[in-house]
């Protein structure tokens, strides 16, 4: 239990310092609102249009394909960890798995899901 006291102290201290910094600035700092200041910050580039504007649906297709192929990586992780114990059997199984993924990839390709225009 005792070892947590230090952590509790640290958290308390961090809270005090953070609140103090914000509070002091709030109390003593000058406050001048202007139109430029109220603008959303976009890495130094002047913002144009709404932040929540619509995206072309094309992005959605790419995103969905990305999710599908990305998530399949979860099966590579356990395979990579047990690679040595599994030996040739594991390798063949993984090749099979990738071939099945490839079927989906070729399908998406041939259907034109990867074309941008």
């Amino acid at each position: 239990m005792l070892e947590y006291v230090a952590i509790a102290l640290l958290i308390a201290l961090a809270l005090v310092v953070a609140l103090a910094a914000i509070g002091l600035g709030y109390l003593f700092g000058p406050r001048k609102q202007s139109a430029v200041k109220a603008q959303p910050y976009e890495s130094g580039i002047n913002p144009f249009g709404e932040g929540t504007r619509r995206m072309p649906v094309r992005f959605y297709l790419i995103a969905v394909l990305f999710i599908l192929f990305d998530i399949e990586v979860v099966f590579f992780l356990p395979w990579a960890i047990a690679f040595r114990q599994l030996g040739l059997f594991g390798l063949i199984e993984m090749v099979l798995f990738i071939v099945i993924l490839l079927v989906g990839y070729i399908y998406a390709w041939k259907k034109g899901a990867l074309e941008w225009e």
Partner: protein, 483 residues
């Protein structure tokens, strides 16, 4: 750590069908748009070959893939039925999708994937595999339900099916998690062993089993988890509905059967009461609401809910070893009867359906008896079978079911079954009356495969009812070694 040829033999039909579907997905890319019949033919061929492999495995009893899948009489029986359903589904769909302008090769590939998921479901002896199979059969069905896009009703049907199906999946997964926590294993055999030991938490196990039951209740459309059924069945393309109504039900009940009968016999005391209530509610609600329907697709949807109730009756005595076998065999027999009748009835609906969802009101069937006597006769057979009147498979199925349920000591449930069947006679026979007694000029389409399917299912429905013994014996031997 290696797989032997025995492992591959266990899942041979499933592997064959999945590989075929993958290849077909690619082959279809090179088939020109106006020749998609080739894809349909190839898909049907794949199902037929798989059916051959399945039938060649009759009598083999094996487990494989580290006890995660089993090949036994039960799986062979169910798989054969599923493959026949798949073939009938393609035969119904082939002309329909062309006529409705939604012919795409993916239809057949998705159907194959769905059938392969259903087959895996019947063979699964591990909750992980049950889950994967459940998703493999469901996800293609969500897409198929929305296949008539951009038609809004079909898209909405797909959306509703998807949301409710995913909701059900959530219950199955959480239930599986709790069962896993209670027993420390996901294998059905391991669960039975763990349930027997006193250190296992019965509370956790019961809650887990109940959640799994809720999930499957959604899948097979049991009341009170049936809300999606009428909308989805109505909105989905009719050929998809026909396949969904039989295939998903067969697979759902197969999994329910395997999971509950083999893994949770220890919970029979609690579960029997729950299943009793589910079965009774499903029969009553399905049949009563069906009365007021004027759309044939919605009526058949409620009829499908009601039949889920009848099949659920077979599960009620599952904790009683004396009648368990005969009761589950009766359930399997009823599934066969329902599958054939169902495909036939939907086939007639497809024959009368026109573009833009016309020709789907029951009133549109007026005059069919005079204009197309054969089609009307077939529809009469299917309606009689759904009520459970002679000379049809539906009657035999109900007799076996009620007999088993009474033998199990649930006379009250059997009485509810008989009474609701009487109610159902009203709305099924109304279709027959409309066909023969009312005047009208119904238009039908003539398609070779559609007519063949309707004729075949009508003949099966009548002929097998005259010699049901062999089919029932097959079902009984299928169940025999399940426990």
């Amino acid at each position: 750590m290696n797989l032997t040829s025995q492992d591959y033999q266990v899942l041979a039909p499933y592997i064959l069908l999945t590989a075929w579907a993958c290849v077909l997905l690619l082959v279809d890319l090179f088939i020109p748009k106006e020749r998609k019949s080739v894809t349909a033919l190839l898909a049907a061929l794949g199902l037929a070959v798989t059916l051959g492999v399945t039938l060649s495995q009759v009598g083999i009893e094996q487990v494989g893939f580290f006890n995660m899948a089993a090949l036994d009489g039960f799986s062979t029986f169910v798989n054969a039925l599923l493959l026949v359903s798949g073939i009938l589904g393609i035969a119904l769909a082939h002309g329909y999708v062309k006529r409705m302008g939604i012919e795409r090769g993916e239809y057949y590939t998705l159907l194959l994937f769905s059938v392969s998921g259903m087959m895996l479901m019947a063979q699964a002896t591990d909750l992980i595999i049950v889950f994967i199979a459940l998703e493999l059969l469901s996800i293609p069905l969500y897409v198929l339900a929305a296949f008539a896009r951009p038609q809004l009703s079909s898209e909405e049907a797909g959306m509703k099916y998807f949301l409710l199906g995913a909701f059900a999946t959530g219950f199955v997964v959480y239930g599986t998690a709790l069962v896993f926590g209670a027993t420390g294993t996901t294998s059905l055999a391991g669960i039975v062993a763990a349930a027997a030991s006193p250190s296992t938490s019965t509370l956790l196990l019961t809650i887990g089993a109940a959640l799994v039951l809720v999930g499957f209740g959604f899948k097979v459309a049991a009341v009170p988890f049936h809300m999606w059924t009428p909308d989805v069945y109505q909105g989905a393309p009719t050929a998809v509905t026909a396949f969904m109504a039989s295939g998903a039900k067969i697979a759902g009940f197969a999994a329910l059967l395997r999971v509950f009968a083999t893994a949770f016999p220890a919970l029979a005391v609690d579960m029997t009461a729950v299943l009793w209530a589910l079965a009774a509610l499903t029969m009553i609600v399905g049949n009563v609401i069906a009365i007021s329907q004027t759309d044939i697709k919605r009526m058949l949807a409620y009829s499908s809910i009601a039949h889920a109730g009848y099949i659920l009756m077979a599960f009620v005595p599952y904790g009683n070893p004396a009648v368990r076998d005969v009761s589950i065999a009766a359930g399997l027999f009823y599934l066969v009867a329902y599958a054939f009748t169902n495909f036939g009835a939907w086939g007639v609906v497809i024959a009368l359906e026109k573009k833009e969802e016309k020709g789907l009101a029951i009133a549109d069937y007026a005059g069919l008896g005079r204009k197309h006597p054969l089609l009307a006769a077939a529809m009469t057979v299917f309606m009689l079978s759904l009520v459970g009147l002679p000379p049809t498979l539906g009657l035999v199925g109900k007799v076996y079911l009620f007999r088993a349920v009474i033998a199990g000591g649930f006379t009250g449930l059997a009485i509810i079954g008989v009474l609701t069947s009487l109610i159902s006679a009203y709305y099924y026979l109304r279709v027959v009356v409309t066909m023969y007694m009312k005047e009208g000029e119904p238009e039908t389409v003539r398609e070779t495969w559609l007519s063949l399917t309707t004729a075949l299912t009508a003949i099966v429905t009548v002929v097998f009812s005259l010699l049901p013994q062999s089919l029932f014996e097959w079902a009984s031997t299928a169940v025999l070694k399940l426990f």
